[in-house]
Symmetry: C2
Subunit: 238 residues, 2 copies
DNA sequence: ACCTGAACACCGTTCAAGT
DNA sequence: ACCTGAACACCGTTCAAGT
């Protein structure tokens, strides 16, 4: 909420570096790393993030890995919150646009959402960041227009397209969060039911089924298929 | 993962306090707070959690609010991770069992999930804790048997009941997480679409609908109704 | 059994000072 | 413009020592 002097300084240095990029003076554009750049800081932070999680990403640690004093990091990126934001921006840019696959609209839409989910799931850095930044709801930008186009082709009205997109993004985001927190707990599978879940008179078969590990992939596919069908049905009688 | 000596000591003190509760010796059971109890520590922590969020919950702060030195808190609760766990246990116990309302199975099941969601949403302490502990997937214990009973009454097989329950719990948990992270960002509504969401040739009406704030309550209700219908349909042709 | 003061090894951040 | 040493105000945690 408050913009510190450090952040403002970092902003200026970024601008300066950018405007200096297309060689405008007399000298040839030499880019010897006579010091450290913001990009190098992000590189180091991502590396720590992937290998040791968000708790290990310390301003002092980042500085140390680059052989530099802590205030240098502050000079380049402002502060820690700005570092998180920049990391999120970078990881967001790395997300590829998912192309739809399949013959029916339902198949194509499902394939895009599934592709997004798998892409997010494969990035340990994103998982670690999600714990700390609370963003990732706008992560899916590059693939959003693909989804919009599919819904339009299915004959949905503008309002319906908006509602459908919001539904799919909420769906993706929420399953991503579940992944994040499962990982945080160190669990690979869901074991939802607590000891209080069972009424004492419950038959053994049902008790076993309820307390067994949840197959989250099956849950994901089941809910995705149902959701996409419901959304497309909105267009039929619109 | 490692049980420290401090935790073990705290465990013993808890046991001792418990076994001393039903007055067993000669003296009458007097319970003057000649010092501090673990319960008082939890009270203080919950208060900070509700009013200032998880970042304000500091061992020193908790101690200070109780007029006690930091090591005293360690003596009673072990360490900070144990404090989080105990807080989660307490908040979990405060969750009431939601009773189903409605005439059809779908209505009754939806009413329970909706009730759970609203209950979680109303607890700022739970939100704050979810950011830090990553639990809350087993939060719904007291209402789970209600859901199981409803699915059984709808004629579903044991395996189907298990799958249905896992679906509903995953659904509840994921919407809870979305709430948590929206709150962390300080947003009240969802604005999913980033600037890249729109293909340039998109018609203005659709563009406006897509970039408008998402009505998350409508999304919740739409997905819940669709999910419950799909789950109950599993029982029809089982 | 319960509590304390003092310390250790960390944080994020700033700031005057260097080149 | 870029980097540093030193400091400030915090953390979680431990430990010997008190009663």
């Amino acid at each position: 909420m408050t913009e510190t002097a450090g952040e403002r300084r970092a902003q200026q240095s970024r601008e300066a570096a950018k405007s200096g990029e297309p060689g405008r003076g007399g000298e040839p554009a030499r880019r010897e790393p006579q010091g450290i750049t913001a990009e190098m800081i992000l590189d180091a932070a991502v590396k720590i993030l992937e290998e040791e999680g968000h708790a290990a990403v310390t301003m002092r640690r980042v500085a140390g890995d680059l052989g530099v004093a802590p205030p240098t990091v502050y000079w380049h990126v402002g502060n820690k919150e700005a570092l998180w934001a920049r990391l999120m921006d970078r990881l967001e840019q790395d997300l590829r646009c998912v192309q739809p696959v399949g013959s029916t609209p339902a198949e194509r839409i499902c394939s895009v959402v599934r592709g997004l989910h798998q892409q997010l799931r494969r990035s340990p850095a994103l998982h670690a960041l999600a714990e700390v930044t609370g963003r990732s709801l706008t992560l899916y930008s590059p693939s959003q227009s693909v989804l919009v186009a599919e819904f339009q082709r299915a004959g949905m009205s503008p309002r319906q397209v908006g509602f459908a997109l919001h539904n799919l993004l909420a769906f993706s985001a929420s399953f991503f969060y579940v992944d994040v927190f499962l990982l945080k707990e160190g669990r690979r599978t869901h074991h939802f039911a607590g000891p209080d879940a069972l009424a004492p008179e419950l038959d053994p078969d049902t008790a076993a089924a309820v307390t067994s590990d949840a197959d989250m992939d099956a849950v994901f596919e089941f809910q995705l298929a149902g959701l996409v069908d419901s959304l497309l049905a909105l267009g039929d009688d619109g």
